[in-house]
């Protein structure tokens, strides 16, 4: 069959949806069915921290329906994901199991950074303009029910991405009492937003020049249609938006919702959403709002097509992840040259002993990120770099990595200079399983050796060759014009662990360059 059918289920804060895609070389990603069901899970989750039985039942019946609809299109594979709303539900493991038992669907809970990465993939894959736009200062803003995500691009690179826990539902729920008592509902919402927005501007925006906001969220298309009548394009100017905002303030939320064709049930989210949009425009000073689709569904489909090599992917997304990691490293003033050397060493070893560690491309990326971030903790405390690095990584969004992957990276970095904890001890405080633990151990072993080779941080080694002598000896031949006494001394100590893990003894051999 020349095409693959893929289903993407997404459980969001206020809706559950299924998108069925046809993936092929000829048509690329082609949406053949979009099924949407309004379900305000967020109302329960953000308010009480748990989702009521009735809502769960409804969710399950919708998911069962989705199973059936996927069959109607002969879906080969699907992914079902949830984000904030399930993440913030207490005891969500039990909930996920209940959903699985009732529907046969295993709902993956995406970390925020994974979710954003998928959204970003969707944007990047959808739009040819994307590359042009990100040349200039651009913010991609995704406004959801529970949170909003701001990613800054400058000169083609992802500069930073931050998640702010303010979203349309959350905003509405927090001010639910106020809404009835004040005529200044909108300005009260603005006030609530101000604090978070200012902090964000101080820390991340600084005096960056943001020209465009790529706005991903509800109603954007409807607003565009409303403003531009028949000739809706994909851009709204700042003035147009502000005029529209005033119109809403004047006519009232309900009337406007009706004119926009928003169903009555979701009309109460219109104003909170608009307030967020408005504050964003004001804080960033962007002149234009660009409308693009970045829904998780398209991201999932794109991701699947990428993995299955259904068609060629133009953009290298791994670079974005690495770029994001580099930016974090930069923030904590790590030694760039040392890192670059180590990256080369680590990856050379990784590739050479492939048949011994049996890990794949993704783990190679994790190793690379671990290298980039292995020293960041020193920025906080020179005495406990490994613990600090661990904490920084655990608390920093790295776009494109799942929570599990981030934890792997954090632990590899921690064990690089600290003690390696046994699995039982590690598992006691995290969700890591045996497999992930083994990955951590294997990557740590490589990282340690690589680190030892540039112990002086002087990049004495110009070139490196790795040869496997026999099944138990690995010869690392380095070209250098400098003295390697320090490295040689440390190498033995650091390579012990490598030997433990792989049963391969690394031997360092220096080839003097003259």
């Amino acid at each position: 069959m020349a095409c693959t059918m893929f289903g993407a289920i997404y459980v969001g804060s206020y809706e559950v949806n299924l998108k069925v895609y046809e993936l092929s070389v000829r048509k690329g990603i082609h949406l053949v069915n979009h099924v949407q069901h309004r379900l305000e899970l967020g109302k329960d989750a953000y308010g009480t921290g748990r989702i009521g039985t009735e809502l769960v039942d409804e969710l399950c019946s919708v998911l069962n329906d989705f199973q059936r609809i996927m069959k109607e299109f002969g879906v080969d594979e699907y992914r079902a994901c949830a984000t904030t709303v399930i993440r913030e539900t207490k005891n969500n493991l039990v909930l996920l199991d209940r959903i699985f038992v009732k529907t046969g669907i295993r709902l993956e809970v995406l970390s925020n950074s994974e979710q954003r990465f998928l959204g970003y993939k969707a944007i990047a894959s959808n739009s040819e303009r994307f590359q042009d736009i990100i040349e200039k200062g651009t913010a991609i803003v995704e406004v959801g029910g529970g949170s909003l995500q701001i990613s800054l691009f400058d000169k083609d690179n992802l500069v930073t991405t931050q998640n702010i826990r303010i979203g349309s539902i959350r905003l509405r729920e927090r001010l639910i009492d106020v809404a009835e008592r004040t005529v200044r509902y909108a300005s009260v919402m603005e006030e609530l937003l101000n604090n978070e927005m200012r902090t964000y501007r101080k820390l991340y925006l600084k005096d960056r020049n943001i020209r465009y906001i790529i706005l991903v969220g509800s109603y954007v298309k409807g607003i565009d249609k409303y403003i531009h009548k028949g000739q809706a394009g994909d851009q709204i100017t700042r003035e147009e938006f502000m005029r529209f905002y005033d119109e809403v303030a004047q006519k009232g939320q309900q009337t406007m919702a009706a004119e926009l064709g928003i169903s009555a049930e979701s009309s109460s989210l219109l104003l909170p959403t608009l307030v967020i949009y408005k504050r964003l425009l004001e804080e960033t000073g962007a002149e234009n709002v660009v409308i693009m689709d970045a829904d998780i569904g398209a991201g999932l489909a794109y991701d699947y097509a990428e993995k299955k090599k259904i068609f060629k992917i133009k953009h290298n997304f791994e670079n974005d992840i690495l770029e994001a990691a580099w930016n974090i490293a930069k923030r904590y003033h790590t030694n760039r040259n040392h890192t670059l050397t180590m990256e080369k060493l680590a990856l050379t070893i990784y590739d050479k002993i492939k048949s011994f560690h049996g890990l794949g491309k993704r783990e190679r990326l994790l190793l690379q990120i671990a290298v980039l971030l292995h020293d960041c903790g020193k920025y906080i405390n020179m005495a406990q770099p490994s613990e600090c690095s661990y904490s920084i990584i655990m608390a920093t969004e790295i776009i494109g990595l799942s929570h599990m992957e981030r934890e792997i990276v954090a632990n590899v970095v921690r064990f690089n200079s600290g003690n390696i904890l046994p699995f039982e001890e590690l598992a006691a405080t995290s969700l890591l399983e045996r497999n992930e633990y083994l990955t951590i151990v294997k990557l740590t072993a490589i990282l340690r050796v690589a680190n030892a080779l540039d112990r002086s941080h002087k990049q004495k080694i110009k070139d490196i060759k790795v040869n496997l002598k026999d099944n138990h000896t690995m010869q690392i031949v380095v070209d250098t014009s400098e003295d390697l006494t320090l490295e040689q001394a440390l190498f033995r100590e650091k390579s012990e662990f490598f030997e433990d893990v792989y049963s391969i003894k690394p031997i360092l051999k220096a080839k003097k360059l003259n």
Partner: protein
């Protein structure tokens, strides 16, 4: 909407307009040009129409009156005023029905060789013996005579059944206390009974109730039967379900069905010669006022004439049976999917056969590439091949979703049975949306082909009912258009309770978008007219009674838009109002086939937009039903649809033109060719199969010639 076009005097009451429609059908029964047996069929139709009208419309007005609801309708009448006007007009109508029967049809049938004995007194002695024997052997065992006295209350008389009421007096008693007794004429036995004829070559029949009446004394042996008269009642049968409270629609409707028998009596028909004392008892027991009592000069319940039409041996007095023609695009082609892929196919029933639609489902059920079949079913025939094919498809592992509309009036029991059967076969059955009847007719077949998913869609103006497809004129479109396919999927998502899509590609749906869409298109023509450009609307539908649309048409007409309406039934729009509707013509076609196609044409500055739809311009279609309007965009097919409108506008035989006073008159044929649109299309459909080229130029008069082999495959 401008107020000036909403004045009550600009509108005709919809109920009275409906009676006008039934009167036009009665006109067919009175038309001497029409074969005798066709005429009795038309008379039968007027009777069954009237029954439904009472059960639904009169009942609903009655409900309003009972609820003391006195808001005026758009023509300015309160419910009570409407009821009064209806009864006044229906009394005249019924009188005309029976004078037609007695004076024209009964003698006419006699000339055709069918003698209908209306009164048992007219039987010969030999015939009398025959019917008495028939009574003892066949009728007597199934009768349940019921007498009424102080210990036995008045029995439940079932809606629409035919009954005989009698007054009895106990034998051998001096005191003449009269007793009332009643017996239902059993519906299990044929109403028309053949008896030996006194003449060679003549068939003689008598009605069952006469046989029973003649033998009434057999039922009440210890009584003297003083008189026997037939009567029939009509009860309120309108279902009013409170959907907000009914958690399970299915159960609620089942409950309502049981209740229906107990509805209020809204009409009593009784033999005009009925004894006053007997009538008094009936009126009292049924709590009915004088104006709702209809004294009948002939057999009650003329729907029996449909059975009489079915009697064998009178073909000379009937229209030759028309066989729906094969669709040339699909004839001899094994793969219907391939043909649809080649291009959209238009179907015109009953001139063309309904088989392709059944075939689509049948083929889909067996096709290995088909993944899913989805269909809306509103009224299906008994033993529907479509239902069987759907069940088969589910058994073959296809994903089958069927929307069964339970709220289809009078068909609920039937529909529930189908729904259960389909569920057992493994189909996913949806019961429609709360508060909205699903009236749209759409079928979607999802197929996974070499180059991806392809959707095949059938959209129609009529129900998926292979029986009525032989009697109703309807149009349908078979297409594999990707845009319509996407819309079709969205339609079914919506019908399953999921959110509507942000926008539609090609289809317009009621209740959310359709009204606005029509209004927009009418206003657009108005703008053209105001700018001095040609502007024209032609619309064909079953009924027109939406005040908003009518007012918009008035406004457009006043602006200079030329509007031609082909409205079979109710038309609340009035023509010829100075300055308001002078540019509007209304015609109604009543013929052998029931006109059912809905076609909407807008000139749109020369672009000529042509649409087919499941909806009329009625409030219920636009506001309370799920309906679909779909465009015909293929230029060839567009021409075909325009051709249909064109021919209907030229009809001089069956068309009747609405006059400013609300009456309808036949077309003045002077200087015009005699043309019956329905007859024309029968021939036209045949001609399409004879020669496929140049269909536009040479439509009908093509000499027969050997069939040519198609040049390429």
């Amino acid at each position: 909407m401008k107020k000036e076009y909403m004045k009550p005097e600009y509108f005709e009451n919809r109920e009275l307009s409906w009676i006008g429609f039934d009167e036009r059908i009665l006109g067919e029964a009175r038309d001497k040009q029409i074969p005798m047996f066709e005429r009795i069929k038309f008379l039968s139709i007027t009777a069954s129409n009237l029954d439904e009208f009472f059960m639904v419309r009169v009942a609903s007005l009655k409900d309003m009156v009972n609820a003391e609801y006195s808001k005026k309708d758009f023509s300015g009448m309160t419910p009570q005023q409407q009821l009064d006007a209806i009864h006044a007009r229906v009394h005249d109508f019924v009188n005309l029905q029976y004078s037609t029967w007695e004076r024209s049809l009964l003698p006419g049938l006699r000339q055709c060789g069918l003698q209908v004995i209306e009164h048992y007194e007219e039987l010969t002695e030999e015939q009398g013996r025959y019917v008495d024997q028939y009574f003892i052997e066949n009728v007597y065992p199934v009768l349940t005579p019921m007498a009424v006295d102080s210990s036995r209350p008045f029995p439940l008389i079932v809606n629409k059944t035919l009954n005989l009421g009698a007054l009895l007096k106990k034998k051998n008693t001096e005191k003449a206390e009269l007793e009332f007794a009643t017996v239902q004429v059993p519906a299990v036995l044929p109403r028309i009974v053949s008896i030996p004829s006194t003449e060679e070559g003549v068939k003689t029949v008598i009605l069952l109730e006469e046989i029973i009446a003649r033998n009434m004394s057999q039922l009440f042996l210890s009584y003297d039967v003083l008189c026997v008269h037939a009567y029939r009642i009509m009860r309120n049968a309108d279902l009013s379900i409170d959907e907000d409270e009914a958690s399970d629609l299915l159960k609620e409707i089942q409950k309502q069905l049981k209740k229906r028998r107990w509805g209020e009596v809204i009409r009593l028909e009784v033999d005009e010669k009925a004894d006053k004392r007997l009538l008094k008892i009936l009126k009292k027991e049924f709590e009915i006022k004088e104006d709702a009592v209809y004294r009948i000069a002939g057999p009650l319940d003329l729907t029996l004439l449909m059975k009489m039409y079915g009697l064998e041996g009178f073909d000379a007095y009937k229209e030759p049976r028309y066989t729906p023609q094969p669709v040339p695009e699909l004839t001899g082609k094994p793969d219907i999917f391939e043909e649809i892929r080649k291009g959209d196919i238009l179907l015109h029933h009953p001139y063309q056969t309904f088989d392709p639609v059944v075939d689509l489902v049948k083929k889909a059920a067996k096709d290995s590439q088909v993944l899913a079949i989805k269909q809306t079913l509103y009224r299906v025939s008994g033993n529907s091949p479509i239902i069987a094919a759907l069940a088969q498809a589910a058994e073959n592992g296809k994903q089958v979703s069927v929307l069964v509309e339970l709220k289809a009036r009078f068909d609920e029991e039937n529909n529930i049975a189908w729904a259960k059967m389909l569920e057992r076969a493994g189909c996913h059955v949806i019961y429609g949306l709360v508060g909205l009847k699903t009236h749209s007719k759409i079928t979607l077949v999802v197929r996974r082909e070499e180059d991806g998913i392809r959707r095949y869609v059938h959209l129609g103006t009529g129900n998926y009912n292979d029986s009525t497809a032989k009697l109703y004129t309807d149009m349908g479109l078979l297409t594999s258009s990707e845009l319509i396919g996407e819309d079709a999927t969205a339609v079914f998502n919506m019908l399953s309770g999921y959110s509507e899509p942000a926008s539609w590609n090609k289809l317009s749906l009621a209740p959310l978008w359709l009204r606005d869409r029509f209004m927009m298109m009418i206003r657009r023509e108005m703008e053209y007219a105001r700018n001095g450009e040609p502007a024209r609307i032609i619309a064909k539908m079953n009924s027109l009674c939406d005040p908003g649309i009518i007012a918009a048409l008035y406004e457009a007409s006043a602006a200079g838009v030329k509007i031609d309406l082909i409205v079979r039934g109710i038309c609340s729009l009035k023509v010829g109002i100075p300055g308001v509707s002078e540019n509007i013509t209304v015609r109604s076609i009543v013929g052998t086939f029931l006109e059912h196609t809905r076609i909407y044409y807008f000139l749109n500055g020369g672009q000529e937009d042509v649409y087919l739809a499941s909806a009329d311009w009625m409030p219920r279609n636009l506001d309370r039903r799920v309906e679909i309007l779909f465009p015909i965009e293929n230029e060839m097919l567009k021409k075909e649809v325009l051709h249909v409108l064109d021919i209907q506008m030229q009809d001089t035989l069956k068309a009747q033109i609405k006059q400013p006073d609300g009456t309808y008159e036949k077309v003045d044929r002077r200087g015009k060719v005699a043309l019956s649109a329905q007859t024309y299309f029968m021939e036209y459909a045949k001609s399409l199969n004879k020669k496929q080229e140049d269909v536009v130029q040479d439509r009908v008069f093509i000499p027969a010639e050997p069939l040519e082999e198609p040049e390429d495959e």
